[in-house]
């Protein structure tokens, strides 16, 4: 028996098969969660927003263009959702050291690699929301400059300047001595 494609699952979900949509969630939940975690740097919030992304997708399953790929689309939905979430929060753009207190990653129990990952996550979390989202869309979702501009409805020049400033900021954060 062959594994159903995303397209098959979407068509089945449209016909009322809830299990098919559940299968889509299973396939993409880790990717979507990681988008949210990179954007929010808080596990509980990231899981909530990932769940919310799938709820949005579930609501729009009948209007989703079946010719598009579901995976990239749901990840972009998640990135936009997190951006809106961050912009709705006051003072969310500054790094809060308590936010990365992930119980699964205590400093005394993690290896060096995990510590470095945590530093990168923390550096990302310290970026303003509109810088964070361009990094997410460019580095992790591999969108072109034009696609990012279209997705975020901002000018191409803003995409370039946001990327440049975000990377400069990250370089200072990650490669600062001491």
């Amino acid at each position: 028996m062959t594994t159903p494609t995303d397209r098959d699952l979407i068509l089945q979900a449209r016909r009322g098969n809830a299990e098919s949509f559940g299968e889509l969630v299973t396939r993409y939940q880790t990717g979507v969660f990681n988008v949210c975690y990179r954007m929010l740097h808080e596990r509980g919030e990231a899981e909530d927003l990932a769940q919310e992304s799938f709820i949005r997708a579930y609501d729009r399953i009948h209007t989703f263009d079946i010719e598009r790929e579901f995976g990239p689309w749901i990840r972009r939905v998640a990135a936009n959702l997190c951006l809106n979430h961050l912009e709705g929060q006051r003072g969310a753009t500054e790094l809060d050291d308590e936010r990365d207190a992930d119980p699964t990653q205590r400093p005394e129990s993690v290896v060096e690699l995990k510590e470095r990952s945590e530093q990168i996550h923390a550096a990302l979390a310290s970026l303003p929301a509109h810088y964070r989202v361009v990094i997410e869309l460019r580095h992790y979702q591999e969108l072109s400059y034009e696609e990012i501009a279209e997705e975020l409805k901002i000018p191409l020049s803003d995409v370039k300047s946001h990327l440049f400033r975000a990377r400069k900021f990250l370089a200072e954060k990650l490669h600062a001595p001491g």
């Binding site: 009322g16 809830a18 559940g22 899981e47 690699l113 990377r167």
Partner: protein, 182 residues
């Protein structure tokens, strides 16, 4: 770009993102400029760091205890993104007819409608009272007189024709709309 010019930060970003048309020129400059090469190296490190982030695992599956899992999934009928062309055309024609009819009817309506002025409440009350008194006086000395009416001929007829025309067009428009919807 000139070979002597340093590569800007935006150009370096475009270069690493493969979003530049000046790739050859930038590479030529980088090969001869230590300062720009060092800036490129710093930027490349950021790319490497970002690419090195591992995927984290979820602590719980999102496919469990979700709306699509708990509630029976009822497909929603998809709505058309916009009205069909013939419906749009009918609506446009109907609107155009209504506007033309309103423009034709406007002068007649203006001549028939009195100019509205709102006097104060006290003035209105005094006027009403004096009119009532005058009416009572007239009634007390009432003598029947033949009444003659001077109906406007052309204007009123034209107005009636216009109103009738608007009504017919409106009914026709609605008829077309309803027939197309079946």
């Amino acid at each position: 770009m000139h070979l002597a010019d340093h590569v800007t930060d935006v150009q370096l970003n475009e270069y690493l993102d493969n979003e530049t048309a000046e790739r050859a020129e930038i590479e030529m400059h980088l090969s001869s400029c230590d300062e720009c090469a060092a800036r490129l190296s710093t930027l490349q490190n950021v790319f490497t760091e970002l690419d090195s982030l591992p995927e984290l695992a979820l602590t719980k599956s999102l496919s469990e205890a979700s709306p699509w899992d708990a509630a029976p999934f009822t497909p929603r009928p998809s709505l058309p993104a916009q009205l069909p062309k013939f419906l749009t055309l009918t609506a446009i024609l109907q609107t155009a007819f209504a506007i033309v009819a309103a423009v034709i009817a406007a002068p007649f309506m203006a001549s028939l409608l009195p100019i509205l002025e709102m006097p104060s409440f006290a003035t209105m009350f005094i006027n009403l009272q004096s009119q009532w008194v005058a009416l009572l006086d007239q009634l007390s000395t009432f003598h029947f007189q033949p009444v003659t009416f001077n109906l406007p001929t052309l204007e009123m007829t034209s107005l009636l024709f216009t109103l009738a025309g608007v009504s017919v067009l409106w009914i026709l428009g609605n008829g077309l709309l309803l027939r197309n919807q079946r």
